[in-house]
């Protein structure tokens, strides 16, 4: 139905006195034509009747209950992510400890590997929480293993390296 229905037809529609297919056509028209919907509403006694309804506001407790329900029902993704950041930090700390205690190439290799693991976990967790920061951190993080292996290579070629001396 493309044309606006006349008042007489709208009145019959509102009273439910049209046949089903005409009613459906008219209803489709009213759905897409605010002017006719408004006209039909003004002819419908239920419009005025329903406007007498009281104003209903949800108790504030409802929102709190729902939020608490969301937080308790599933371990929130963000909590999981922040745990991953802590896990990553732990590995980084372990890496620095290993580097500090065993200042030789084996220590450096082990430190670099666990440091890399820590970085990976931390950054992927950060990437989920803060996508932009995560994206910036990723390429920088990928440089870390290259630097570690470079350092390892320099130390292996220099037999009496300074790292060994530092650990004593």
């Amino acid at each position: 139905m493309n044309q606006h229905p006349p008042d007489s037809q709208l009145a019959l529609f509102v009273d439910g006195k049209l046949d089903e297919s005409t009613s459906v056509d008219l209803a489709m028209h009213l759905d897409s034509c605010p002017a006719c919907r408004q006209r039909a509403a003004s002819m419908d006694p239920c419009t005025e009747l329903c406007s007498r309804a009281e104003h209903i506001e949800p108790p504030p407790e409802l929102m709190h209950r729902v939020l608490a329900g969301i937080a308790s029902s599933s371990p929130s993704a963000s909590t999981v992510h922040i745990h991953s950041v802590w896990l990553g930090l732990f590995f980084l700390l372990l890496a620095s400890l290993m580097l500090f205690l065993w200042g030789d190439p084996t220590g450096l290799m082990a430190g670099a590997l666990s440091g890399l693991g820590g970085l990976g976990v931390s950054l992927s967790a950060l990437g989920r929480i803060l996508p932009t920061e995560g994206l910036i951190c990723m390429p920088i993080a990928s440089l870390v293993p290259v630097l570690c292996f470079l350092a390892l290579y320099v130390m292996q070629s220099n037999e009496n390296g300074s790292i060994g001396a530092r650990s004593t």
Binding site: D31, M63, V66, A68, I70, S78, H81, P131, C137
Partner: protein, 212 residues
């Protein structure tokens, strides 16, 4: 560098007003996003987006449940269940549907469950009727009219009540109501016409009774 980034996250966490329930709410989501955008963020696990979706629908859902069930206690339970289901099942939302009609269909199903529970228990909770305390005459009259309307609505069958609530109170379009009820348009139109007629008859009867 990760230490710095973690510190950044914690600083953001510290300085933003996050509800206690959320250990770490992400910060890129803002309240002005539309539902589709919020939905995408929520599906990525963003707790703040989920909270904003709930916040956006809590009034409509509670109002609908309250008018369907007629008392605060049941309305609270049904609305809470609806909003939790909504958030937990965001992944099942069919994007070809309108989000609001999906919300109402969950609310409606919860109200129907509540009716079933009530009929099994064989009890109908007391209706909450607000005290019509002393006040200006027009306010008292207004409250009385609202009470009569509520009584008239509650005298209807749930099927008739829900279509009236969706059309006259929540202002859904006819085809959206058909979507909520998962019924053909013809069925919905017939239900609406009958519901309107029954509401008027019930209201008139209540007024007559009150006057006599």
């Amino acid at each position: 560098m990760p230490v710095g980034s973690t510190a950044l996250v914690q600083a953001l966490h510290f300085f933003s007003a996050i509800p206690k329930e959320f250990p770490l709410a992400p910060f890129q989501v803002n309240a002005s996003l539309d539902v589709q955008e919020l939905l995408q963020e929520a599906l990525r696990g963003d707790e703040r987006a989920k909270a904003l979706i709930v916040e956006r629908y809590v009034k409509q859902v509670y109002r609908f449940c309250f008018r369907m069930l007629g008392n605060e206690e049941d309305a609270m339970d049904a609305a809470q269940e609806t909003l939790l289901k909504l958030v937990r099942n965001l992944g099942n939302f069919d994007p070809s549907r309108r989000f609001s009609t999906w919300v109402f269909s969950i609310a409606r199903n919860n109200c129907i469950d509540m009716f079933r529970k009530r009929s099994k228990q064989g009890s109908m909770p007391e209706r909450d009727i607000k005290d019509e305390g002393p006040g200006p005459l027009d306010i008292a009259e207004k409250e009385q009219r609202a009470t009569h309307l509520r009584a008239a609505l509650e005298s209807l069958s749930p099927r008739h009540r829900e279509v009236l609530l969706l059309y006259h109170f929540e202002h859904l379009k006819y085809r959206e109501i058909a979507e909520v009820l998962q019924q053909p348009m013809g069925t919905v139109m017939n239900r609406i016409f009958r519901a309107r007629r029954d509401l008027r008859l019930a209201y008139d009867a209540i007024i007559r009774e009150a006057r006599s």
